[in-house]
Every structure is written in structure tokens, then in C-alpha cells.
């Protein structure tokens, strides 16, 4: 085990509210917090207004089975357990945001949004008001306390499991009350499962959830079609020539290759990718992979963990939950984050979050608003 991060500013025994999804990670996180001597209370967030309709077995985080699994884990850990209904907040802040982002031709990350608005806002605020000191989750990330007592968010000790990307939206106040017991040890998922089994938590063998929890069947396109309806429009190439049709521009993501169903092959016979989505005229633009290369982006609504970058500086950036990191120069101009890539990157979709890192430290995150293609003139 690596040496524990020192939490000098923290009292020894905290009142901790552990968010328990019913999965193995949050169960082990709660168990570790309790084993560390904290006074832990488990809470399962009911995020669907009608849990029965989301009944799909062991997937997602909205099923009655999951709330039962979370309850049983809390029993075994020996902590109080409650179910809190945050369905209305979740619907407003996450589901509707997800739908309207897609409707606007962007590709949102609902998990990030949930962390920002639900787990570390609605839940955290309620927890603090009720006298808790911290909210504990099963995320793989590390909170480091500096000498002056301020907090930093770092990548998890195990880089392969790192989830700091989806926590990049947290500001320092939120971090001050966040506890991620899983990020502090270099544990593989198999070891977490073994630890769960050792602790008597029967969720040890439960499969991971990968999908968007409020789209239980995993069919995002179907979900969006039900919410937004279908609207036939053109698929055009970079010259503006019509090469096919689609049933709703929102159904696409920049960089997408599959599912384009283009009747007319590209002149050079090479695969085509979605380059741009224009919800205004309901048009999807496609083109060759090379046209996906982006050399810079502008991102809005930045949130910083600590001090924002003062001038242009060298950082690394991560653009997707499971993406790698890439070297960038970043600066804040007029409240917007401008990022220039050292080498062009592909598949950058507006709506996604860009998270900036300084080494392992999360500097902040922002929502990608626009990109500049490699070779294109500066905007």
C-alpha cells in the first residue's frame, strides 16, 4: 500500500455520507471509510421518478435491485442506510440537460454533470446542512491536502482506473468535502472485488455499469429519438454536396463513423466520419479522417480546482472519460479557455468536457464550444 495522503486539516473522525449506487466500488469505498474510523451513513440516490420502469437487472444505478444491493452492503458494513429521492433534481439538471445538449448538436457527458449538479451539489449541500462533513463516493481519484489546508484533485494512484476526468468539474469547496477512498491505493479492479469479497460484500461479483444510467437499455439513439422525435435531414460532404439522409442530426457525434448509411461512396473510397452537426438546418457534414484533426479549441463555463492558469502555460488535456492525455498550451481569455494542441487530435466534439492537468493534478475543466481544424485559418 502506498503511503496515505495526509489530511492534516481534517479531524480524525468525520461524519461521512457515503453515496452507494449498489455497485462494488461505492460499497468498498463506504466500507473503507467506516474501517478508517469515520462515522458513515449510507445513502442510495433514487434518480428515476419511476424506478419500476427502469427495471433491467443489474445495470445502471436506478433500479430497485440496485437500491436493495446498496442496502445489503450497508447492512454488512454496519452503517445506517437511507434512500433519498433526487429524481426531480436529476431530471432537471442531468436528463433534460443531456437532451437539450444533443438537440443543440453537442455531445454531453451526463456523469460529469451528475457529479457537478447532483452528487457534489444537491447531495453535498443536503449532507452539509444535516451535519455531515463529507460525501464519499466510489470514484477512483485522489484528494490531496496542501500545507495551507487547500485541496487538490489528482489522478488516482492506479492510472488505469483513474476517474478524475468526471470529477474535473468540482471546485475547491466541493473538493474540501469529497472523499474518494478508492483513489488512494493502487488497487486493480480485481483487487477491489477481492476486497469486497473479503469484507463480506456480496456485490463483489456484480458486473460493472458502463452505460448511461437513465438509458437502461443502452440505446442512446432510441432514447433521443423518443425524446426529440425524428426529423429527416441531409448528410453532406465538405463541399456541401448531398451524400445521404439522416433521421435527426442530434443522433450523431463528431468523429462517428458507424451508422451513417451513406448511399454514395466517397470519391476516394475511404471511410467518412462525422465532421460537423448543424441542428439549425438539421445537416450533418461528413468527410475523411484527416478532416477530423483539430489543432485548437475554445471551451466555455470553466470550473477551476484552485487558481486558474494566469497566462499561457503548458498542460496536458483529457477530452473523453476513457481518453488519453495530450500536451497542450492553455490560457484563459475573457472567461473562456483556449487550448492549443501540440499535435493535432481527432474526434473532438462540442459539448464534451476538456479537463486540464498539471502532472497528475486537475487544474480545471470547461465545456468545448468550438474547435479549429488543422490547417484552417485562426478564428
Amino acid at each position: 500500500m502506498t503511503p496515505r495522503v495526509t489530511h492534516t486539516a481534517r479531524p480524525a473522525r468525520l461524519k461521512v455520507l457515503a453515496a452507494m449506487s449498489g455497485g462494488v466500488d461505492s460499497a468498498v469505498a463506504a466500507a473503507r471509510a467506516a474501517a478508517a474510523g469515520h462515522d458513515v451513513t449510507g445513502v442510495h440516490l433514487a434518480l428515476s421518478a419511476n424506478p419500476q420502469s427502469f427495471r433491467t437487472g443489474a445495470r445502471g444505478c436506478c433500479t430497485i435491485e440496485d437500491s436493495h444491493d446498496a442496502r445489503r452492503a450497508a447492512d454488512v458494513i454496519g452503517i445506517p442506510f437511507y434512500v433519498w429521492d433526487l429524481a426531480e433534481r436529476f431530471r432537471e439538471d442531468v436528463v433534460e440537460d443531456f437532451v437539450s445538449e444533443y438537440a443543440a448538436g453537442r455531445t454531453p457527458n451526463p456523469c460529469l454533470r451528475c457529479n457537478e449538479k447532483i452528487k457534489f451539489a444537491a447531495l453535498l449541500d443536503k449532507a452539509l446542512a444535516l451535519g455531515f462533513d463529507a460525501v464519499c463516493t466510489g470514484h477512483y481519484a485522489k484528494v490531496v491536502t496542501r500545507e495551507d489546508g487547500s485541496r487538490e484533485l489528482h489522478r488516482a494512484a492506479d492510472a488505469a482506473k483513474d476517474q478524475s476526468y468526471v470529477l474535473g468539474v468540482l471546485d475547491e469547496r466541493q473538493l474540501a468535502h469529497a472523499m474518494f477512498p478508492l483513489g488512494e491505493t493502487e488497487t486493480t479492479k480485481a483487487e477491489i472485488r477481492a476486497e469486497a469479497a473479503e469484507r463480506g460484500l456480496f456485490v463483489a461479483k456484480k458486473p460493472d455499469s458502463h452505460d448511461i444510467c437513465f438509458i437502461a437499455d443502452g440505446d442512446t439513439q432510441g432514447f433521443l429519438a423518443r425524446r426529440l422525435g425524428t426529423a429527416e435531414g441531409d448528410v453532406v460532404d465538405e463541399s456541401g454536396a448531398r451524400v445521404g439522409t439522416h433521421s435527426g442530426a442530434y443522433g450523431f457525434t463528431v468523429g462517428q463513423r458507424k451508422g451513417l448509411a451513406l448511399g454514395t461512396p466517397a470519391p476516394d473510397g475511404r471511410p467518412r466520419y462525422v465532421l460537423d452537426i448543424s441542428p439549425v438546418d438539421n445537416t450533418v457534414t461528413v468527410g475523411p479522417a484527416a478532416s477530423l484533426d483539430v489543432e485548437a479549441l475554445t471551451a466555455i463555463s470553466p470550473r477551476w480546482c484552485g487558481t486558474p492558469p494566469a497566462g499561457p502555460g503548458g498542460y496536458t488535456a483529457q477530452l473523453r472519460a476513457h481518453g488519453g492525455e495530450t500536451a497542450v498550451t492553455a490560457e484563459v481569455v475573457g472567461g473562456e479557455l483556449r487550448v492549443a494542441f501540440a499535435a493535432p487530435v481527432r474526434g473532438v466534439a462540442p459539448g464534451q468536457a476538456v479537463v486540464l492537468y498539471d502532472g497528475t493534478r486537475v487544474v480545471g475543466s470547461a465545456t468545448i464550444a468550438s474547435t479549429r481544424r488543422a490547417g484552417a485559418p485562426a478564428a
Binding site: 445506517p80 437511507y82 429521492d85 433526487l86 444535516l130
Partner: protein, 396 residues
């Protein structure tokens, strides 16, 4: 008791020692009450003696006692069974008159009939205390074709409300139903042991009882059922219990249930006076600590169950309050809960016309035979700070 301060006796109350004894004695005896041999006869005798004791405790004849697995089954048997049998006699009878403040065991059975059996439902109006008045029932009965009640299958209205404790004028309601020749069922699960429940005098066709609310065991209940009514069974099989409720009789539970019922009925007046005085102190203490707390249900002690106190705390969520009190070893209830354990705004408080936000911030404190002045003192000390905290957390 696991919890230092247990104020949730309406959810379940500890078994009486005498009932525990009766149950454990029977657990070691072999014999199916339907068997013909000596062991079977001994079991049958224990059942019939218990039936007689239970009947005597609630003003019924022994033949009117149908043992069930509990209150939920008895409610379902009465509501669905009477609906089916009445409709079988006359296909026009598809209207159900029900109070909107019923326990989910009745409420959901009625909804099920509506959804799957072609029932139309008239929800009877209630006053601000959650009480159905006989004239409201009369008006509903006369809403049938030709101003009659020829299309009504049954009436159901509880004896006393499980959340807010209001006692309904059951005898008055039953008299009106009888006038129109319509059988009436009443869920007396909460009333039994606190209010005077006399089936024979009530004029009801059917009445629900359960063991674990009166110091008996879980998993046993009864439907008191007049001989004139034969509801269609929910469970088919060996034909036990007048062929209305098949299934091997649970002799130990029945024996313990009867002992508890007899004791509860015998001690009722004394218990009601004692627990009522303690409840009044609890209400005063809560109002002292939280002046704007709203007491739900009938404020007149004669109109509510003596062990019940039910409040709305403006600006609070019930589940926040429950967590804060639970952390201090005080057990109470927010009212009703769905399968996933999510606190819902109380349908009872909503039906009684309260603001939806007030329906979310409710807590029920219910006393029982083990309650003490120390329990009330502990709540009195804890409730003020808890409400202050819960208010800071607000309504999410």
C-alpha cells in the same frame, strides 16, 4: 429493544410476553389442524379455542373469524373477494366506494380492480382531519342509476387512519351502507387495541385485524366476516376457513394472536387512558420545541387514536428529520414508503387538503405498551435541533 427510543409502535409493537409464551409452546407441538388423528385434533382444538378468544375480544362470533397471513391479505380478500362475489351475483355491480386515506393494502387493491376488473371507483370525500362523513357516503351511494346504489359492489373505509390517527365514524357509515344493501369493509388494523372495536355492533360485513400491531406475532391476521357474505377466495386449495382462505393453519401464530387480542381488548380502556396522556405530553413537547409544527388529524383526543401523534414540520423533509432522529436512537416514521424506500408525500395528508410541501415534511410518532415518559423526554430534547437542521437542508 434495539433502538433506545422506539416511537414507531404503529409500524409494529413488541410481542406481549404472554403471546411469546403461547407461541413457543405451540411451536414444539406437531399436528396439522386439518388432520383427523389425535395430533391433528389437538392442533384443531388450539385453533378453535383461539378463534373463540379472538371472536370474543372483538364482538364477533367464532364462525365469523377467517384467519389470514396478516392485514394485507385480509384487506385484499375483503376488497377483491367481495367485489368478485357481488359482481357475480349482479354484473351491474362494478362501482367501489372507498376512502382516499386507506392503507395501501386497500388502496392498491382498489386500484387493481379499477385497472384489471372493470371497476369504477368513487373516492369518498374526507374533511380536513381525513374523516369520511355518513352523508358523503349516502350521496355517493345515490349516484348510481336511478339515484340508487344498484351498481355498487362494496364500500371500504378504515376504522382509524394509520398515519394521522383519525377515527372514522364506522358505525354510522355501515348503517348507511346497510340501508342500501351494500356490504361495507373496514380495515381496523390500527384501531384494534386502541379504539373500541365491536364487529357485531358495527354493522360491518367485514373487518380486518392483524397480530403484530396488538402485541401478537407477525404473519397472522384475520378477516372478521359476516356469515351472509362469501367473498371469492384469493387462495384456492384445501378449503380451510369456510373455503374462503385455503392454506394450512399456522397454529402457533394463531394461538399467540388470540392471546394478544384477548389481552389487548381486556386492557384497552386502561391502556388508552395511559397512552393518551403520554401522547398528549408528546404533542405538547413537540409544539413547545417547534411552535409552527402542525398536528395532523383530529385535534380532539376523542377523535383520534390515543397512541398517535402526527405532525407536519414546515420547510423540512420528513426523511431528513428521520435520519437526524435515527442517528440519536429515536425511531419514528415519515408515513408511507414505496418499495424502494423512497419517502413519498403522504397521500393521507394530501387527501385531507394540506399543502403538498407540508405533506412531505411529516413525521408520525406512535406509542405503545412499552412506551415511557423517558421516550417522550428524549424526543422533546431532540426534535427542536433536528427541525432546525432539516430546515437548513430544505426541500430538495
Amino acid at each position: 429493544m434495539d433502538q433506545a427510543v422506539y416511537l414507531d409502535h404503529a409500524a409494529t409493537t413488541p410481542m406481549l410476553p404472554e403471546a411469546v409464551r403461547a407461541m413457543t409452546e405451540r411451536l414444539t407441538a406437531t399436528g396439522n389442524a386439518s388432520s383427523l388423528h389425535a395430533a391433528g385434533r389437538r392442533a384443531r382444538r388450539a385453533v378453535e379455542e383461539s378463534r373463540e378468544r379472538l371472536a370474543a375480544a372483538y364482538g364477533a362470533r367464532p364462525s365469523e373469524v377467517v384467519f389470514t397471513s396478516g392485514g394485507t391479505e385480509a384487506d385484499n380478500l375483503a376488497v377483491k373477494g367481495l367485489y368478485w362475489s357481488r359482481r357475480a351475483e349482479d354484473p351491474a355491480r362494478t362501482r367501489v366506494l372507498a376512502s382516499p386515506v386507506e392503507h395501501h393494502a386497500v388502496l392498491d387493491a382498489v386500484h387493481w380492480l379499477q385497472k384489471h376488473e372493470g371497476a369504477t371507483v368513487d373516492w369518498l370525500p374526507v374533511d380536513t382531519h381525513g374523516r369520511v362523513h355518513p352523508d358523503a357516503l349516502r350521496a355517493a351511494l345515490e349516484r348510481g342509476p336511478g339515484g340508487g346504489a344498484g351498481d355498487v359492489a362494496l364500500v371500504t373505509a378504515m376504522w382509524a387512519n394509520n398515519e394521522i390517527g383519525t377515527i372514522l365514524p364506522v358505525a354510522g357509515l355501515a348503517a348507511v351502507a346497510r340501508e342500501y344493501g351494500v356490504p361495507m369493509h373496514s380495515d381496523a388494523v390500527q384501531a384494534a387495541g386502541q379504539a373500541e372495536v365491536d364487529f357485531g355492533a358495527s354493522g360491518l360485513a367485514a373487518l380486518t385485524l392483524t397480530g403484530h400491531k396488538i402485541g401478537g406475532p407477525y404473519g397472522i391476521g384475520a378477516l372478521l366476516l359476516g356469515r351472509q357474505d362469501a367473498p371469492e377466495p384469493l387462495l384456492h386449495g384445501g378449503g380451510q376457513e369456510r373455503e374462503v382462505r385455503s392454506g394450512t393453519l399456522d397454529v402457533p401464530a394463531i394461538a399467540a394472536f388470540a392471546v394478544a387480542a384477548e389481552l389487548a381488548a381486556g386492557r384497552r380502556a386502561e391502556f388508552a387512558a395511559e397512552v393518551g396522556a403520554l401522547r398528549d405530553r408528546l404533542v405538547a413537547a413537540v409544539r413547545d420545541a417547534v411552535p409552527d409544527a402542525v398536528l395532523n388529524g383530529d385535534p380532539d383526543p376523542a377523535g383520534r387514536l390515543p397512541a398517535n401523534a402526527h405532525f407536519s414540520f414546515p420547510g423540512c423533509e420528513g426523511d431528513s428529520l428521520l435520519l437526524l432522529l435515527d442517528a440519536q436512537g429515536i425511531a419514528c416514521s415519515t408515513g408511507s414508503a414505496c418499495t424502494a424506500g423512497i419517502a413519498q408525500p403522504s397521500h393521507v395528508v394530501l387527501a385531507a387538503g394540506a399543502d403538498p410541501d407540508l405533506a412531505r415534511g411529516t413525521l408520525r410518532f406512535s406509542l405503545g405498551h412499552t412506551s415511557t415518559a423517558a421516550d417522550v423526554a428524549a424526543l422533546a430534547a431532540a426534535i427542536g435541533p433536528a427541525v432546525e437542521r432539516a430546515r437548513a437542508a430544505g426541500l430538495s
